[in-house]
């Protein structure tokens, strides 16, 4: 590793500068320390690495293509736009990359009961999928509001043998599902593995999830050099907790490449109806880590809002908080309306229906591409497909499905 690198974090206590850490109840500390040890052992174990490689290829279907979005590029009349097509993965999003890594780790740790939180349900589906594949018990915590707006994923999880526990506390979204999953974990710590879906939570989760998702950026780097013989000028990805963005960004952090993380601006950044923790939040401690949070002056966490269930979270992974403070990554946002517009245009011009989450990234690409030269290159992470969002979008457009 280079001395002056953005890739040195976290330190041995899980800190990325001010951010990260291990803010959990004492009951969980021994397990978190055990997990950290198990993960660092696994990392240097060739058998483990080969298993991940094999499952990535044969089960997930990696590598995912890097696709030149020619019609969209022509439409926008700016930089060349490439899609990193992680929506083509088995289960329809990037979430499975992390799930394969963590389920293999759970197996090594001899934990046979898997719990997870889910917002949009993409992580829930990916967890239920790997649990089915490995024959593990699967319990998914999902906010009541999210269950209503992601019905098809709820059905998929059940079909895969997962048990869904509706969470009614709070606003019934991702934050509350995570609280409930943590409560389950404290209660069943002996046989249970908590498979966190984003690059957040107590150390070692943020680093571990980032590592498992970095395959996205590693492939993209190889692929763009193959196709264009140069590195891209800009990377763009949406951010809820931030795992798909870190996965794409991380391998490029020390390269001369601009990066844009796109938060959900919901109904706009002026009020409280958004989920833009970096643009509008302040540092605080929640769900095991210190990071930027949407909160009031008394330290009570605010509920976020986004049309996209996957971005509707009042926090963000701690490494993003650090990268933001360092000025290495630019954090911007797209509103519900902008994302919906991008959703429609991408569908019409490329024949690809994106999930509402990467539609936020696309909406920013629409603005960015126009400011760039035609020989410049943008890679956007198309981290999920839109099937799950059809009803939400139809509702919004006032169409009956």
């Amino acid at each position: 590793m280079k001395k002056n690198s953005y890739k040195l974090g976290p330190d041995s206590d899980g800190n990325f500068g001010l951010f990260g850490g291990r803010y959990v109840a004492e009951t969980l500390m021994p397990l978190i320390i055990e997990l950290e040890r198990a993960y660092s052992d696994a990392l240097i174990d060739q058998v483990f690495r080969n298993e991940i490689k094999q499952f990535s290829k044969d089960y997930i279907g990696r590598e995912s293509p890097l696709y030149f979005a020619e019609r969209l590029t022509n439409y926008l009349e700016g930089a060349k736009i490439y899609f990193k097509r992680d929506e083509l993965n088995h289960t329809g999003s990037h979430k499975i990359n992390n799930c394969i890594g963590q389920i293999l780790l759970a197996k090594r740790m001899k934990k046979n009961r898997i719990i997870a939180e889910t917002g949009a349900g993409q992580h829930g589906v990916a967890v239920a999928t790997v649990c089915a594949r490995f024959g593990f018990e699967c319990v998914i915590y999902m906010g009541k509001k999210d269950i209503e707006r992601q019905k098809s994923n709820v059905f998929k999880i059940k079909l895969l043998g997962g048990k869904i526990v509706p969470v009614e506390s709070g606003n019934g979204t991702l934050k509350d599902a995570m609280n409930e999953a943590l409560r389950d974990w404290v209660s069943n710590v002996e046989n249970t593995y908590y498979l966190i879906g984003t690059a957040a939570g107590p150390h070692p989760y943020p680093a571990m999830v980032r590592d498992f998702q970095s395959i996205i950026g590693e492939e993209a780097k190889r692929q763009i050099l193959d196709k264009e013989n140069v590195l891209p000028d800009a990377l763009v990805a949406c951010i809820g907790g931030g795992s798909n963005a870190l996965g794409l960004f991380y391998p490029f952090l020390d390269d001369d490449v601009d990066m844009y993380g796109v938060e959900a601006a919901g109904l706009g950044l002026d009020g409280n109806e958004h989920a833009a923790s970096l643009s509008k939040g302040t540092p605080g401690v929640l769900h095991g880590n210190r990071t930027y949070l949407l909160q009031d002056t008394d330290g009570q966490i605010r509920e976020g809002h986004s049309i996209s269930a996957g971005l509707d979270y009042p926090g963000i992974g701690p490494e993003h908080s650090w990268l933001s403070d360092q000025g290495r990554v630019n954090y911007v946002s797209s509103t519900d309306d902008e994302a919906l517009n991008a959703f429609e245009i991408c569908s019409k011009y490329e024949g690809i229906i994106p999930a509402l989450e990467p539609s936020h990234a696309l909406a920013f690409v629409f603005k960015l591409a126009k400011t760039m030269k035609k020989d410049q290159i943008i890679i956007v992470n198309l981290c999920g497909r839109g099937d799950k969002d059809i009803e939400t979008v139809a509702d919004y457009l006032g169409v009956e499905v």
């Binding site: 206590d13 850490g21 291990r22 803010y23 959990v24 109840a25 004492e26 009951t27 969980l28 500390m29 021994p30 397990l31 506390s169 709070g170 934050k175 609280n179 943590l182 409560r183 404290v186 209660s187 069943n188 710590v189 002996e190 302040t282 605080g284 401690v285 929640l286 769900h287 095991g288 949070l293 909160q295 002056t297 008394d298 330290g299 009570q300 966490i301």
Partner: protein, 268 residues
Amino acid sequence: MATRISRTFDELKSNSQTGLITYLTAGFPNQDLCLDIINELSESGSDLIEIGMPFSDPMAEGPIIQQSSKIALDNGHTMELIFDLIKKFRTKNSQTPIILMGYYNPIYQYGNENFIKKCLDYGVDGLIVVDLPPEHDSELCDLTIDIDLDFIRLATPTTDQKRLNIVLNKSSGFLYYVSIMGITGTKEPNLDILKEQVIKLKKVTDIPIAVGFGIKRSDQAQKISEFSDAIVIGSSLIEKIMENYQNNKEDLVLSEVSKYIKSLKAVI
């Protein structure tokens, strides 16, 4: 340094008594009644009082304390109102130790040094911060080392010997032993296993051991009091308050609290 907490435990010990620690969420069920209940708790025999600092995301709490926290926050409860509550309590009572219990973020937003200064000024005796393990001592615990404010930690059934040494280091006041693997007010502890665990703890530390999470009935309280220095009652107390308050029997709240505390105190 002899704090109010250590004096209380010394006194209990010299009288061969087990202490009763009660937990109440600040601002629950409303600001005025909360103060009256705290006064009643100490008059009825609660030796120490934990005041819960409401938090929007109380990860270690079961449904009952979660709900009390939500009610307090919906009533507009703030950190300043907690100090206001303690100030009013202290005008009448300078004996009973007060422990603030809660989660780190509200403290962090208040400002750690500011918070500790306020605790000293208003007569708070101890802190329990559920999500601040020894790994993060430099943030808050280290600020309490040379002052009359105890930093009380939790040990749990998952705490092994090596971990216990880390937990005990810089622990003061008492050690809070979590009798179950889980959240507040849900499971019941297995008393035989619990006894073994507490006896093991007593071999390695001189600080008093209080047992909590999952104690509800006087028969459990009685048995646990035989091998511990104090027992903690939280969810079951709040449940009693909630039942009466929500059935418009506000006038019965104080007498029910008193009856319950006395019934526990009588058997431990």
